[in-house]
């Protein structure tokens, strides 16, 4: 039988049994569509997180006090109770002198009440330097960011987040106003552009003041973090070693800090979310298998309904192989068509979700499209074999004389 004839014959058989065909198509397209939509969700979440991280710059090093290692046991220090040595502004100053360091922002964080004209609000207060703007990519909507000064100059100025501005000043001008943070007064010199959440830190809700001022407000000489960016990614590891050595020297030979490459965290998250996406795709693939079983069922019914037809085919000289091929073609045709519909439905679904959540970019990864279609066709083949074989083996005499 010619290929074109086989195809058009199959098409005729499928369009004749409209209900049967559309049910099978529906099952298959739901399977494929769910793979596409679910992977789009997973991939969207991954891209969102990756994007959030990269907004902080990928050539970022994070220095934090303390060392991840196991202490205790018979060591006497376990009884004394050893706390990590603080990171200080002097440490930050020393690190800034390393040539490969481009920007360095010491970070102090705390919560403090801020008040203006009788309105009070408890917000996160960051102490940092001008470099913070470059390290965590932030843009200023009005005024300016912290001025370029030494870490030790306690200029009484602050930059406020968009929400803080709205809450305290409403529509009035904020720049130049004096605001009370804890028991000190700061002049507002800038308002941050609204950027939404950045990895759990809502900069819209916070206030940024010079690092030394924050240390005074919170009455603590230690730093929460030191954020460093380098010229490029290649110098990250070199800089990391230099920072570790430098602090070791400054802390009497004790390596009591941890330096993390930000892109290492990124890679971890990336991996976790990729795995999640795969897992979700796997779950969706189960619905493909279910669709396959449905196709098998309906094909089996179809074979028994078309017994007489199959008997006749044999009588007019169709070989068992030819009959098997005809039914296999039907199964593959169905699953291909189902996969095609599924891709379209999945695409529309993804589009719908994207419209609903415009912040997150939902894109189905290319492998999901291909694997969904491949799996759909494979299911068609696998679950088509049994009915096709049954049709081919049918005894023509029984088939023709059955009433």
């Amino acid at each position: 039988m010619r290929i074109f004839d086989t195809l058009s014959f199959t098409w005729q058989a499928l369009t004749f049994a409209k209900l049967r065909t559309s049910l099978m198509l529906l099952a298959m397209s739901i399977g494929v569509a769910s793979v596409i939509v679910l992977t789009a969700l997973g991939e969207g979440a991954r891209l969102y997180v990756v994007d959030q991280f990269s907004s902080m710059g990928s050539n970022l090093l994070i220095v934090l006090p303390g060392r991840s290692e196991t202490t205790g046991g018979a060591n006497p220090s376990a009884f004394i109770g050893e706390t990590p040595r603080d990171l200080t502004l002097d440490d930050a100053q020393a690190i800034k002198r390393i040539p490969s360091v481009k920007h360095l922002a010491p970070i102090v964080v705390g919560a403090a009440p801020i008040s203006y004209a009788g309105l009070e609000r408890e917000v996160p207060v960051f102490g940092s330097s001008q470099d913070m703007q470059h390290v965590i990519k932030m843009s200023v909507a009005q005024g300016q960011f912290l001025p370029e000064t030494t870490f030790h100059s306690a200029t009484p100025v602050c930059v406020i987040g968009a929400t803080v501005k709205k809450e305290l000043f409403k529509n009035a001008r904020a720049i130049g106003q004096w605001l009370r943070i804890g028991d000190r007064r700061f002049r507002v010199i800038g308002v941050l552009a609204s950027e939404g959440q950045s990895l759990g830190m809502d900069m819209d809700e916070s206030v940024i003041i010079p690092v030394i001022s924050a240390q005074t407000v919170f009455n603590s000489p230690s730093l929460f973090r030191i954020l460093i960016t380098t010229e490029d990614r290649d110098t990250l590891d070199k800089t990391k070693t230099k920072v570790l050595n430098l602090i070791k020297k400054r802390h009497q030979g004790e390596e009591d800090i941890t330096v993390i490459r930000q892109d290492a965290i990124l890679a971890t998250f990336d991996n976790i979310l990729k795995t999640l996406t795969m897992a979700v795709a796997g779950i969706a693939a189960i619905s493909l298998a279910v669709a396959g079983i449905l196709i098998m069922n309906v094909m089996l019914i179809s074979v028994s309904q078309r017994t007489a037809e199959i008997g006749l085919f044999k009588a007019v000289g169709a070989s068992p192989t030819l009959i098997k091929n005809l039914f296999m073609t039907e199964a593959i045709f169905l699953s291909l068509l189902g996969a095609f519909c599924g891709v379209i439905i999945g695409y529309l679904g993804t589009l719908g979700i994207s419209q609903t959540f415009p912040d997150i970019q939902f894109i189905t990864p290319w492998w999901a499209h291909i694997s969904a279609v491949v799996v759909a066709v494979l299911t068609g083949v696998i679950f088509g074999i049994l009915p096709a074989k049954r049709a081919a083996k049918l005894d023509p005499v029984e088939a023709l004389y059955k009433r």
């Binding site: 010619r2 007489a308 006749l312 085919f313 007019v316 000289g317 030819l322 023509p396």
Partner: protein, 232 residues
């Protein structure tokens, strides 16, 4: 005209019906020459249809030898038998067995479609046959839009479109009224005069007498054979 086309030697075919073994064919010997016209008669369950199906390679005998054009066909594989069936044998059934979703023309075309004959040739041959059988104006009708006689004419056209040597008809007039039945038999007899071997299974004694060889079967055995004078 006198070479042996079909030779059955000691053909036996048994069915298991519940506990019982039924001898549908019991040691049947039969020789048919090219162009012969046989009627096979007998009561229900006498093995008439089984004989037809064995000759048509739809059923396999349990024992015995079957030579078709000097080929021992019983030992062939199913695929090889299908090929022979396609090229040498045409079937006509009591219940027509037309494919309901296909038009008359498409039903006639079906064997050629399965055989992989080129579309242009298929079209030509179908048109010719439709014209010869006077079904041209019914070409695009589905079976349920045709009368019984028309359906059987379509079935005959389908059975002969591959130009077989043997035509096997199982109660071809069983579902037809007298007039249409008569017409169908005339079509079949015309084909026989053109050289095709014709085997008709029937209950109708009048029909049986029309054949040059009239075979009576009882309990799977050929009981008698009458040679009638060919009525022109």
């Amino acid at each position: 005209m006198n070479e042996t086309q079909i030779q059955l030697d000691n053909i036996t075919r048994t069915y298991q019906v519940g506990e019982e073994k039924v001898h549908a064919l019991d040691n049947v010997n039969l020789r048919i020459e090219a162009g012969d016209y046989l009627s096979i008669m007998g009561p229900s369950g006498s093995g008439k249809s089984t004989l037809l199906n064995v000759i048509g390679l739809l059923d396999r005998p349990d024992t015995g030898n079957y030579f078709l054009n000097d080929t021992a066909v019983t030992s062939l594989t199913e695929e090889q038998q299908a090929k022979i069936r396609q090229q040498t044998i045409g079937f006509i059934f009591q219940s027509f067995h037309l494919v309901p979703r296909l038009t008359a023309a498409e039903n006639i075309e079906l064997p050629m479609l399965l055989a992989g004959i080129a579309p242009t040739e298929r079209k030509q041959r179908v048109e010719k046959v439709l014209h010869n059988t006077g079904l041209s104006d019914r070409a695009n009708h589905r079976p349920d839009q045709l009368s019984g006689g028309q359906r059987q004419r379509v079935a005959i056209a389908r059975a002969t479109i591959m130009q077989p040597q043997i035509l096997l008809a199982d109660e071809p007039t069983g579902n037809l009224d007298r007039k249409s039945g008569e017409e169908i038999i005339e079509v079949l007899e015309t084909l026989n005069t053109q050289g095709i071997s014709l085997l008709i299974v029937t209950h109708d004694p009048e029909l049986g007498r029309r054949a040059s060889r009239e075979i009576k079967m009882i309990d799977g055995k050929i009981q008698s054979e009458l040679h009638n004078k060919q009525s022109p």
